[in-house]
Amino acid sequence: MSQVQEGARPAAPANPDASSTRPAPRVAWSRRLLTAGPPIALIALIVIFGAANSRFLSGSNARGIADQTAILLVLAIGMTFVILLGGIDLSVEGVMATSSLVVALLAANDRNSNDYGMLAVLAGVAAGALFGLVSGLLHTRLKIPSFMATLGMGAVGIGIATVLFAGRSPRVLDEGVRSWGLDKWWGFSPLTYVAVAVLIIGWLIQRFTRVGRYGYVIGGAEGIARLSGIPIMRYKTLAFIISGSTAGLAGAMAASRLGVGDVLIGGGQMFATITAVVVGGTLLQGGRGGVHKTAIGALIIAVLANGLILVGVEPYVQRSVQGVVIVIAVAATGWSLRTRTRTIK
């Protein structure tokens, strides 16, 4: 058969700009929205709530918001690494439950004679990391979709926590552990400083390490990453370990703040976490976003929750508001990716 043309999908038209010149800024509005939208939304919320209730802008309320954001921010930073890869971690609440009980039962408590002090917190983080490792291995080795693997691991976490719980919340008596949750350092809870430290570490990982950089590469185009010889499974598993560790730390933080280990200690956090990541501008499809964006997203969620209370919205309406916010955010961030024949599953 003779021919000269080989058919293929139509290529994009060539751009007339000479390649040797500096690139013209060619940023699509949808990507600008992704970058500038969340900070603008945050400022707008602050202005609106500030106008609606003068107490909103007071120093003590601002500090309250910061303290309220701490646990959510820690969770969301870990989640960001998983979502950047196009995956999701639904085990957050179960991991928090197990971790909080591990911390409460290893630190000085009213149930047993353990007294490991701050080591108990480390054990909580380690438990979370272990959950992440198992989720990651299930996802990469057994090829289970991440939502299913982590949903299962979350249930396992709740189960383990329930066994440890044994009918009654163990109370944390350890002064050191409790003080992290109760003290104020220069007006802020120590947990807020922990969250800021996690944010900085997360940013450093994202910016300067293979795990961080390859997250963008694998999330952006897994096929290219594979052809470049990148061990994809390893980096995916690492992302789940990071997410598990932050969930473990969040469980420890909650135990320290509330003074108990509890099965339901992470109730409602998973949804808020995913919302924070997505509202911040990390694409659920992966490849685009980052922990710095997630910080903005977490603040938006916290400001929204705080502001709605101050303007007198019923607490149970707030959940619905969060739901609306995440749907709008997902639609807005995915706007540029719409094509008629794209499959959404």
Partner: protein, 506 residues
């Protein structure tokens, strides 16, 4: 070193049902630009994939710098100093230029998993400087225009030289298909520059470009190297003849079964259709029983147009009329509703639903024919399916067989049956209907096209080859850069020549 850098010695590669490479000898000498041309399916891609470690030869030797090498993966090929610039973009948009250039080969720039950005950027800068590019290693890749990305691809290919202490072989697979004008000149200047520091394999459809940049040209056909020419002593016409080989028999295409369509009513009319960056001012009409062939090189706009006519992609201006009535084409389901069918080029992805049975696939497009008020009538369904399996001679163990187990030709017939079983069908868009099919299956498709015409269907065809386009069509419309550049009547007995079409295409 004076011997060839890379040598294929008697290399053969067989795929199920086809001998993709048949005892091929090719050599690439130091500081040489080797042109490689051939038709679709001539074996060029297989050759390149063996060179880049994607495929391994069944027999014969691949000798790199005097040593017989087994390139098991793309990484091995890169380690052997072979860098590819792929036809499709292979860059990640969200990371920096430097990260793309050194992707998977960060080496000394990453210690213990921690990046040394300064070192990474410096190394990338070295590659960019070699091709005299002003792109900065820290630029975000997605902010670059297409031609700049091509330069980054080139720098990435060049980076393979860091993995060894020898000069690299750079393979450019259709690098010009997305470039034009100044960008093209820039690329040619780059190739000249590469000549001093590397050996280059240049693959292109544009024969004039191959003649212009190459020191030597290999012509491939049917899995063999049929000629090796000096560009100074050969012209486009000769290259083309070598590539095409023979006049194809009209019989193969069932030309005697082609019917006249003069006087037939218009079925579908396209008026002033356009989409920014894809195609513009497209006027077309297809009459009952007529085949209109769309000719053009890749990216000429014909594929985008065909998808727009099926509602799979949008258009900005113009209108589409079916039997004189304006169509709303907001989605593929609008098109199906109106009686337009589409046989996509990506058969395995978009044509048949893998995992579903032959029966389920056939009744997929128009469940209305086998059901009443939304409830499927099993007897009617069996009857329709059996009828089409018989009419198109689909070879399948049973109607319940998973289509994934059928051969390519039979899968294509299932796709055709899916559309034909709908009584509403008025227009059928065929996008590369014979791609990847063996000769026998192709003939079946040709026969089918003639029969469909005889029944008054209007067919829009994007064929795999120019021959096919000419032989099957009543009229041929040639696209170039999104616009129609020529129209040829190809009525029975009045066929245009391939050369006429090619002139309008390039």
């Amino acid at each position: 070193m004076n011997g060839p850098v890379v040598e294929f010695r008697g290399v053969s590669k067989r795929f199920p049902g086809v001998l993709a490479l048949d005892n091929v000898d090719v050599e690439i000498r130091p500081h040489e630009v080797v042109g490689l041309i051939g038709e679709n399916g001539a074996g060029k891609s297989t050759l390149l994939k063996i060179l880049s470690g994607v495929y391994q030869p069944d027999s014969g030797d691949l000798i790199v710098r005097g040593e017989s090498r087994h390139l098991a993966t793309p990484r091995h090929a890169a380690a052997a100093g072979i860098g590819m610039v792929h036809q499709e973009q292979s860059l990640i948009g969200t990371v920096s230029v430097a990260e793309n250039i050194l992707l998977g080969a960060e080496g000394s720039s990453v210690r213990g998993g921690v990046y040394n950005w300064k070192d990474l950027n410096q190394r990338a800068q070295r590659m960019l400087s070699k091709i005299d590019s002003q792109i900065r290693p820290t630029d975000r890749t997605e902010d670059l225009v297409l031609a700049q990305r091509q330069m980054v691809e080139l720098a990435k290919a060049l980076a393979v030289e860091e993995r060894g202490d020898h000069e690299p072989v750079i393979v450019l697979d259709e690098p010009t298909s997305v470039l034009d004008g100044d960008d093209l000149e820039t690329l040619f200047a780059e190739i000249e520059r590469l000549r001093d520091i590397a050996s280059v394999v240049f693959v292109s459809h544009r024969l004039d470009e191959v003649l212009r940049v190459s020191d030597r040209v290999y012509v491939m056909k049917d899995g063999r190297v049929v000629a090796e020419r000096d560009p100074k002593a050969v012209d486009i016409a000769e290259l083309y003849r070598l590539m095409v080989g023979r006049e194809t028999a009209g019989e193969f295409y069932r030309e005697d079964e082609q019917l006249e369509v003069d006087g037939a009513p218009d079925v579908i009319k396209v008026e002033g259709l356009g989409r920014k960056g894809a195609f513009k001012d497209v006027d077309l009409r297809v009459r009952a029983g007529e085949v209109v062939g769309l000719a053009g090189v890749e990216g000429s706009g014909r594929e985008a147009l065909s998808r727009a006519l099926f509602g799979a992609e949008p258009f900005d201006v113009g209108q589409v009329l079916l039997d004189g009535a304006r169509l709303k084409l907001g989605s593929p389901s609008d098109a199906v509703e109106a009686g337009i069918g589409y046989v996509p080029a990506e058969r395995r992805v978009e044509g048949v639903a893998m995992g579903l049975s032959v029966e389920d696939n056939i009744v997929l497009a128009d469940p209305g024919t086998i059901s009443r008020r939304g409830i499927v009538i099993p007897s009617r369904r069996r009857q329709v399916v059996a009828e089409w399996i018989d009419r198109l001679r689909i070879k399948t163990v049973s109607t319940q067989t998973d289509v994934a187990n059928l051969s390519g030709g039979n899968q294509q017939k299932v796709t055709l049956a899916k559309w034909l079983s709908s009584p509403r069908l008025r227009v059928l868009i065929l996008d590369h209907p014979t791609r990847g099919l063996d000769v026998g299956a192709k003939e079946d498709v040709y026969t089918f096209i003639r029969k469909a015409c005889a029944q008054g269907l209007a067919i829009i065809l994007i064929a795999d080859t120019i021959d096919e386009t000419i032989a099957l069509s009543h009229n041929v419309v040639v696209f170039r850069d999104g616009e129609i550049t020529a129209r040829f009547s190809a009525a029975p007995g009045r066929k245009p020549t391939q050369v006429q079409l090619v002139e309008a295409m390039v």
